[in-house]
């Protein structure tokens, strides 16, 4: 008689930390999120206060030393974007799970808190192949272009007063330019994949992003007209008395809608509509290349809400409790305010994603050209008129 | 020390590349792309002369802006025409639209 092995425990059972099988513990989840935000905050402080202080102490703040400092800051920002992606993917999965009567990831780390780290490791370990029908060079380049286009926006985002890489006086124009750029990677990735779904997804993405660029740029101009400057720090400073979302209510609403479309976020997620296009432009990607597309998407999911905060919700402004402005403590506190305001907006974006269904493609374009652009123009004229009267 | 000569020479080289492209490309989209290089070379020449020799008015920079505008307009019209060519002839090469030659 053949002996049959009967394992005592036939199932692979990963450990459950923080989940009583009978009930969930929301406080543990929130602690995990807070820990991620805390790491984020520390990296921000290190990037914008620590590194310049270090180089100033070493006396390397001129010439190539300055270049080295900027390089170090950019490396730290890359780390920051990795933290953002890890946190946002986790929050997205947990939140959507709750909405859909599930728990989301809960097996690895406290309350599933390091699930996304393992996911990232899995993506790193996967084979990164190029399909036979693809144009190999462009196919390889596309994820990098997408990521760089999103990442480049960090250059002008002010985390606190003076905490910005390039406090340029063409900041807004730079933002418009860079946000146009992110259509590149998507278009190149889809076109070079040699896959019809990817091609359709890329064409949809291109058309959608180019269309929604226009209201987005018009809202940028409205904010510039209202604040009287193209510098992002200047825009935040101009909101000291009154946050912009009150006088600029119409452009604010338009900005939220347009940035949803720019993010390729539900209800505007045509480029990667799973039910129609499998995954759209990134269907042929795997491994590291796919990870870069993913990273870019979630960095943008942080950056566009951050821009909402900069433009309409007073950026880093908040009560300072008597701390002298300009000091390290004040900068840290201001960047914390900025982070928390941004977190609220990210949450609202996720909430929208959990609620709304997808639009139809022709309705999307019609909405952009027939509603968004006229309204944005109207808002621009209105803002200019109010500015003439009031200031 | 960067001088005006550097920029003008670069502009000339880009102009040469653009001309070569206009004359050798057989796909009409590629021809339009070469024209873009030509226009950019011209804009670069304008902007550099303005930056080096016109410290008050910067008329050259304004003109460079105008060149960019013209480039955008030219390209949109050109692509619209090419789309029509594609609809009637099925391709956008120079062979496709040489039927007038008989």
């Amino acid at each position: 008689m053949r002996p049959i092995p009967i394992p005592e425990d036939r199932h692979f059972r990963p450990r459950l930390i923080g989940y009583d099988p009978q009930k969930s513990r929301p406080w543990l989840e929130r602690t995990v999120y807070a820990a991620y935000v805390f790491v984020f905050w520390l990296i921000v402080i290190a990037t914008y206060a620590g590194v310049p202080a270090l180089f100033g102490a070493l006396g390397w703040d001129g010439g190539w030393g300055f270049v080295l400092m900027r390089v170090l800051q950019v490396v730290l920002l890359f780390l920051l974007s990795a933290v953002i992606a890890l946190l946002l993917i986790l929050v997205l999965r947990k939140y959507l799970g709750k909405v859909q009567e599930r728990f989301g990831p809960m097996h690895y780390g406290p309350a599933g808190g390091i699930q996304t780290v393992f996911d990232a490791l899995k993506l790193l370990a996967k084979e990164d192949f190029v399909p036979a029908a693809a144009d190999a060079l462009t196919f390889r380049l596309a994820p990098a272009v997408t990521f760089v286009a999103s990442f480049a926006m960090f250059a002008v985002i002010p985390f606190a007063s003076g905490w910005v890489l390039a406090d340029t006086n063409v900041g807004l124009i730079y933002l418009i330019a860079v946000s146009t750029l992110s259509a590149y990677g998507v278009l190149l990735g889809g076109v070079s994949s040699g896959n019809k779904w990817a091609l359709i997804g890329a064409l949809r993405a291109g058309a959608q992003m180019v269309s929604y660029e226009i209201p987005l740029a018009l809202v940028f101009l409205t904010v510039a007209v209202w604040s009287g400057t193209l510098r992002l720090g200047g825009i935040v400073d101009a909101q000291l008395g009154l946050w912009n979302f009150l006088p600029l209510a119409l452009p604010f609403v338009l900005y939220v809608i347009a940035s949803l479309a720019e993010l390729k976020h539900i209800p505007f997620d045509f480029p990667e509509a799973e039910s129609e296009l499998i995954a759209g432009y990134n269907v042929e990607y795997s491994g590291m290349s796919f990870a870069f597309f993913f990273l870019a998407e979630f960095v943008e999911l942080f950056l566009l809400p951050a821009l909402i905060v900069v433009f309409f919700f007073g950026g880093w402004h908040g009560p300072l409790f008597g701390i002298e402005p300009g000091s390290l403590a004040a900068g840290a506190l201001e960047s914390l305010y900025f982070t928390l305001k941004t977190a609220v907006w990210v949450w609202i974006f996720l909430w929208i994603r959990a609620t709304l269904p997808r639009y139809r493609d022709d309705q999307l374009m019609e909405f952009a050209w027939k509603a968004m652009i006229p309204l944005a123009l109207f808002g621009l004229v209105l803002a200019a008129y109010m500015r003439l009267i009031w200031r | 020390m960067v001088t005006l000569g550097h920029f003008l020479l670069l502009s000339g080289l880009l102009m040469a590349v653009g001309l070569y492209g206009v004359l050798t490309r057989r796909n009409l989209i590629a021809v339009l792309m070469s024209v873009e290089i030509l226009l950019n070379a011209a804009a670069l020449a304008f902007a550099s002369v303005a930056a080096f020799r016109d410290p008050h008015l910067f008329a050259g920079q304004v003109f460079a802006l105008f060149v960019i505008v013209v480039a955008a307009a030219e390209l949109s019209i050109g692509f619209a025409i090419l789309l029509n060519v594609y609809r009637t002839h099925g391709a956008v090469t120079d062979d496709a639209i040489s039927e007038m030659r008989g």
Partner: protein, 189 residues
């Protein structure tokens, strides 16, 4: 309907939807934590098959081949030889191909001595299909591991902690059919 009314309705619909979604977040999910918490299965539940031995360890199966004939999927293979010392037959081979079995329990219905029973062990997932070509040892082992099984003749039976087989109380019997099952008890004794 005017444009403004339409816009207002759209905004109201979106607001209602988002409020509903937000309320849902704070409610408990009805998720079952399966590998950690075993599900409550009904007493009669055809998850797998087992071959019950008597309490003294002797074979309950009389090798009558009723189950092999009853099986619609023909997954039961039995070989036997005549008992040289007494009456009846001895088992050479009793195999059930659990891969192709469709768990109709026709064999359980056919068994005159209620040797082959249905058990509640549903965790049959494996990396090797060969382990599901159950032979007699496997089927006995399954029966020894099971705490509870069912056959139409004896109803639901339980295995106590010291290994004895007992009849389940009437409330655990299917439909509470304690009276119908009485003649079966007489056959057993």
């Amino acid at each position: 309907m005017s444009l403004l009314q339409e816009v207002w309705q759209a905004v109201k619909a979106i607001g209602t939807g988002m409020a509903t979604v937000h309320k849902r977040v704070y409610e408990e999910a009805p998720t079952e934590f399966y590998p950690y918490v075993k599900p409550e299965l009904p007493p009669v539940s055809v998850q797998s098959l087992a071959l019950v031995e008597n309490e003294d360890g002797s074979e309950r199966c009389i090798v009558c081949l009723q189950c092999e004939r009853a099986c619609p999927a023909q997954v039961i293979t039995i070989e036997r030889h005549r008992n040289p010392e007494g009456k009846g037959f001895l088992i050479d081979r009793f195999d059930i191909d659990l891969v192709n079995c469709m768990y109709c329990a026709a064999c359980v219905e056919a068994c005159p001595v209620s040797s082959i029973v249905t058990i509640q062990d549903f965790e049959m997932s494996t990396y090797d299909l060969q382990t599901l070509k159950a032979d007699i040892d496997f089927l006995h082992e399954q029966a020894r591991r099971a705490r509870q099984w069912y056959s139409p003749k004896f109803g639901v039976e339980l295995r106590t902690d010291d290994g004895r087989i007992e009849k389940a109380p009437p409330e655990m019997q299917p439909g509470g059919l304690a009276e119908i099952l009485k003649p079966a008890e007489e056959v057993d004794s």
